[in-house]
Amino acid sequence: MDRNQLVKWIKAPAKMGHKYSLHVVYFCTGCGIIEIPPSITARWDAERFGVIPVATPRQANLFLITGYVSTKTLKAIIRTYEQMPEPKYTVGFGSCPINGGMYWDSYNTIKKLDKYIPIDGWIAGCMPRPEAVFVAVTHLWTLIDKEMADGYKRYREKYDYYRANQEKVFGEMEWPPLYGKE
């Protein structure tokens, strides 16, 4: 953890800021959310890393997709993701966002979440333990350092691809495209 190295702060304050102030959208998307409250309470204190849940997506920069994603939840996830300010990072938590996990043959869940919103990293497990949250956070720091956590940039550049996939699931979307033709 290089939080105390003043030189790095002066050289790249935005990057260091994003690393050590990861505010999580407190949106419990699925069953995996049961592992998040232990990680922010006294035993596995996440606040010492700068990770804290916030009330609305407008104030956040980390989105944890915890657990399986049903199609109903996917709409809310996409809306929440688009409401977050940029730069923003997403981490898929559990096996379900990776490849469908336990619900690999369900009619109602999303098997590959990466087709609908960009994901920066995955944690495997059903459910991963709270320590895995910290592994995710530290790994995200390395990615941010190397400028490889660019999910939001991919969303902007390949927006037509993501929007097409979203429309394939939902048909008519209730909100206009985020990045228009202009």
């Binding site: 939080r3 304050p13 935005a14 260091m16 800021g17 994003h18 050590y20 102030s21 505010h23 309470t41 006294a42 035993r43 204190d45 606040e47 010492r48 700068g50 804290i52 916030v54 009330a55 609305t56 407008r58 104030q59 920069n61 409401q83 977050m84 300010p85 940029e86 730069p87």
Partner: protein
């Protein structure tokens, strides 16, 4: 010389505001048997938030927030910091009215955001303010009547040779009343009603992202600084430590020591406030109004009656 003061005083106020917020989170964490973030965490948060690109809802959304932070900085310029008061015109009355600019700016800005959670948050914030203003006005009027002046700098000067207000007999009741409503002024539990994260999804801050959230955090820190500074200046003697540093009265070292003493006093009061915050849950607004209009108002009213009788 005055340019230096105009630049330094707001910077000190902002830095101390951020320090208070960081200390708040660290102390709460330690009380809860965990390590907690570093004390500079609010600064890290602000740096991160400032580098984010977010949405805006209109002109008033931005202008209101700028007005709010500007208003709070102006109040910091009018409050005595040790022996220095950068601007003194109009006294405590001007300070009281300038303190309205902060909440009003936030109210206009978050009203424009179009989210009813913000509107509910603002209505509760104003109701809480009406709640604590009843005892607070009685306390402030008692102080002004007792010292027979409306100038805040004058009140600090008088306390330097007459002793702290909190210790003088007629003002003891008013001091107790002011201490009882201090959590409401600072917006910490049990009166954390306006910015309640869970009940109204952070109230006025619901639609603030990016640089708006950064400014809102700065304004919140500054608001706490102003609330504590007013209390310490009125009741705990401002930058004076029982006259110990009287020999350095008009020198640069004297002014510096006065500022340091003031900040230490504010930190001590704030530490007591954090302990209160750790022990209590959040009130509902009706419970808060009920409390604020009974015991503190009773003490404050008794204080003002004592002052009017003893002259």
């Amino acid at each position: 010389m005055i340019i230096v003061q105009i630049i330094l005083v707001p910077i000190i106020a902002l830095v101390m505001g951020l320090l208070f917020m960081g200390l708040f989170r660290k102390m709460m964490a330690r009380i809860q048997w965990r390590y907690g973030p570093p004390i500079t965490q609010p600064l890290i948060d602000i740096i991160r938030m400032f580098s984010q690109k977010t949405v805006t809802h209109g002109f008033m959304f931005e202008a209101g927030l700028v007005l709010s932070l500007a208003g709070s900085i102006v109040v910091a310029l009018f409050l005595p910091m040790g022996n220095i008061t950068v601007f003194e015109t109009g006294g405590l009355l001007v300070v009281l009215y300038l303190m309205l600019l902060g909440p009003l700016g936030i109210a206009l800005s978050s009203g424009e955001s179009g989210n009813p959670n913000s509107s509910i948050g603002i209505s509760r914030k104003f109701l809480l303010a009406l709640g604590y203003e009843v005892p607070m006005l009685l306390v402030l009027l008692a102080v002004m009547t007792h010292y027979n002046t409306i100038s805040l700098a004058e009140i600090v000067r008088i306390q330097a040779y007459r002793g702290w207000s909190f210790g003088s007999f007629p003002l003891l009741l008013s001091g107790i009343a002011y201490f009882l409503i201090l959590p409401a002024i600072l917006g910490i539990r049990p009166f954390e009603i306006a910015g309640a994260a869970q009940e109204i999804s952070s109230g006025p801050k619901a639609e603030y992202g990016g640089k708006f959230m950064a400014f809102s955090t700065l304004q919140h820190g500054l608001q706490e600084f102003i609330g504590l500074s007013l209390f310490v200046n009125l009741f705990l003697g401002g930058g004076d430590l029982f006259g110990l540093f009287g020999m350095y009265a008009n020198t640069f070292l004297g002014n510096l020591l006065a500022i340091v003493v003031l900040l230490i006093k504010m930190l001590l009061v704030f530490a007591v406030g954090v302990c209160i915050n750790a022990a209590f849950p959040r009130f509902r607004i009706e419970q808060a109004l009920n409390y604020l209009w009974t015991w503190p108002s009773l003490f404050a009213f008794a204080g003002i009656v004592v002052i009017m009788i003893t002259g």
